[in-house]
């Protein structure tokens, strides 16, 4: 992470700091009112805000020792702790310029590096040589659990929902010029009879509107426009799931049962939505999955 550049900034830093704080306060008017009401001296006027902020830097200014002597007994715990911040560095040194003494512990960035065992916490990105679809994250400091089965892609919608991608994030779609088909829905009854729609890997939204990944747009308005149901194919276990969208009132059934939750789909299952009957025909499954081709090529 970015850190404040300090170098030998023990003298110039207070000025810089106060200047920028003042700017920030003026620009955003964000803390000054609260600040004054929570200040230790209620009488503080705006100019003393700076002085107060300066003492909170703990090591920059000597006078806190005066304050410390009378503070601890009367102040609530929160404040006495803040005094302990002030007192311990300044009690070590009789002089007022604390930063000139060698710090007992490394600075923040070095301390972080030490605790990490000397490794950086920004994993380097290594592009795999074949220029294929993965960007590899070589992350030595962490446990990297390698997934045994390559998952060619995760569905866009799923990613938006979970905001999770797997350890290897691909930046390209691999060799497919379009999403690989994993099965079909064939219309066997109702408007659109004889037509079919492909099902793709991951999550397929099924509904009447063309925005659905699987659009049953043959004019059956008893089907919800948006996301009447979901058909999911998981390439990890090569299974299909039918998930009704229970937020929709339109009736959906699978083999004449009305599922209240996700149900596995088998080949030739009949899905009924509105006045439309749909047969499910799998392409991927136990016998085939696109990942097999990818593995052969790899």
């Amino acid at each position: 992470m970015a850190k404040q550049d300090d170098g030998n900034g023990s003298i110039k830093q207070p000025g810089k700091f106060l200047g920028s704080l003042r700017d920030a306060l003026a620009a955003a008017s964000r803390e000054d009112t609260n600040r004054l009401t929570t200040a230790e001296n209620p009488t503080t006027a705006k100019p003393e805000l700076d002085a107060d902020a300066t003492t909170s830097l703990a090591m920059k200014i000597a006078p806190p020792s005066d304050i410390i002597t009378d503070a601890p007994e009367t102040c609530p715990p929160q404040i006495s702790s803040s005094d302990s911040h002030d007192s311990s560095p300044s009690s070590d040194k009789t002089d007022d310029v604390a930063p000139s003494a060698p710090p007992p512990l490394p600075n923040a960035a070095d301390a972080a590096r030490e605790a990490r065992g000397g490794t950086p916490n920004i994993p380097p990105v290594v592009r795999s040589p074949a220029g294929d679809r993965h960007v590899e994250f070589d992350a030595p400091p962490t446990t990297h659990v390698v997934r045994p089965s390559p998952i060619p892609k995760e569905d866009d919608e799923d990613m938006a929902r979970t905001q999770l991608v797997r350890g290897k994030q691909q930046v390209e779609r691999g060799d497919f010029s379009q999403d690989p088909v994993v099965g079909w829905l064939v219309i066997v009854g109702g408007p659109g009879i004889g037509s079919f729609r492909p099902i793709y890997e991951g999550n397929n939204t099924v509904g009447r509107a063309s925005s659905n990944r699987v659009a049953i747009d043959f004019g059956d308005d008893a089907i919800s426009a948006e996301e009447q149901a979901y058909v999911r194919y998981d390439s990890a276990d090569r299974s299909f799931l039918f998930v009704p969208n229970l937020a929709k009132t339109n009736v959906v059934s699978v083999n004449d049962k009305r599922p209240a939750t996700a149900v596995p789909l088998q080949g030739m299952d009949v899905i009924t939505m509105g006045r439309t009957q749909i047969v499910f025909v799998p392409f991927c499954g136990a016998d085939f999955d696109w990942s097999e081709l990818t593995e052969l090529k790899g």
Binding site: P77, S84, A115, L164
Partner: protein
């Protein structure tokens, strides 16, 4: 003997719900949780913060579940041990317990499938700070006017920044890429892809502030965080946490994410 003092604060931002959770042991939680854990050894403080995902019920439930099970596991396994501070293995075990609790929750209620959470688990003891982390919730150390990120960012942000640094994409593209907030690792009940664990305890000194935050804090840039922490350091950890959350709210970000902050001080 070491002692620690803490404060915490949270905002929902512009979201209609709070998916972050945070809890301290011994101490309280940001969610409804009557803590019945045994007291830890003297001088030990455990702080845990989680940023849930999965929308509405799912996200909040995920982050609460992992906080609770993480602490419960630490608390119950801590009794049998004489070590003053839990070792990395113990943190890891607690993390696995948190992960397993998500698996169990989803099994009990399949509609929650897809929920998950980040987690920062920290222990403060005589030897200092140790942590375990999954996801993109930052853990910072403030020391002598500087701030450093302690844990690894499991979002795609570091990768995008590196692509920008190497000239493959522009800095602007890196900054606005929607994948920036996607996670390479999270607690979803499945195998954990990436786990960040401290190797050795990070010794703390008076004047340090350790900050656990959810990624809603990124509304503030790091320099702002440094300024605010420095300005309120002397007022105690609660004042620092409050000031950070107030500043986030005052940015009036139209899509401000949930933000939750825990600040811990060593008190000598």
């Amino acid at each position: 003997m070491s002692a620690f003092e803490y404060g915490s604060s949270a905002t929902r931002g512009q979201r209609g719900y709070q998916e972050d959770s945070a809890a301290l042991w011994p101490g309280s939680a940001t969610f409804d949780w009557p803590q019945v854990l045994p007291q830890p050894a003297a001088g030990i403080l455990v702080a845990v913060l989680a940023d849930g995902m999965g929308g509405h019920a799912g996200g909040a439930q995920a982050s609460q579940t992992v906080c609770r099970s993480f602490l419960e596991h630490l608390a119950t396994s801590d009794n049998s041990d004489t070590h003053p501070a839990p070792a990395p293995e113990r943190l890891r075990a607690a993390l696995e317990a948190a992960n397993a609790s998500i698996t169990k929750t989803v099994e009990a209620n399949p509609r929650l499938d897809g929920m998950g959470s980040t987690l920062i688990g920290t222990t403060f003891g005589a030897e200092g700070l140790e942590w375990v982390s999954v996801g993109d919730s930052p853990l910072y150390l403030f020391r002598r006017g500087e701030i450093a990120l302690l844990n690894e960012d499991h979002s795609l942000a570091p990768a995008l920044d590196q692509l920008a640094a190497s000239g493959e994409i522009t800095a602007e593209q890196a900054r606005t890429d929607p994948r920036r907030h996607m996670l390479r690792s999270a607690i979803t009940g499945e195998e954990l892809d990436l786990i960040d664990v401290s190797k050795i305890p990070l010794a703390l000194e008076p004047g340090d502030a350790v900050i656990l935050a959810s990624d809603g804090i990124h509304t503030l840039d790091t320099d702002d965080v440094v300024r605010i922490v420095a300005a309120y350091l002397g007022d105690g950890p609660q004042a620092v946490a409050d000031a950070l959350v107030r500043s986030i709210e005052n940015q009036k970000e139209p899509h401000q994410d949930n933000a939750t902050i825990i600040v811990v001080y060593p008190t000598g």
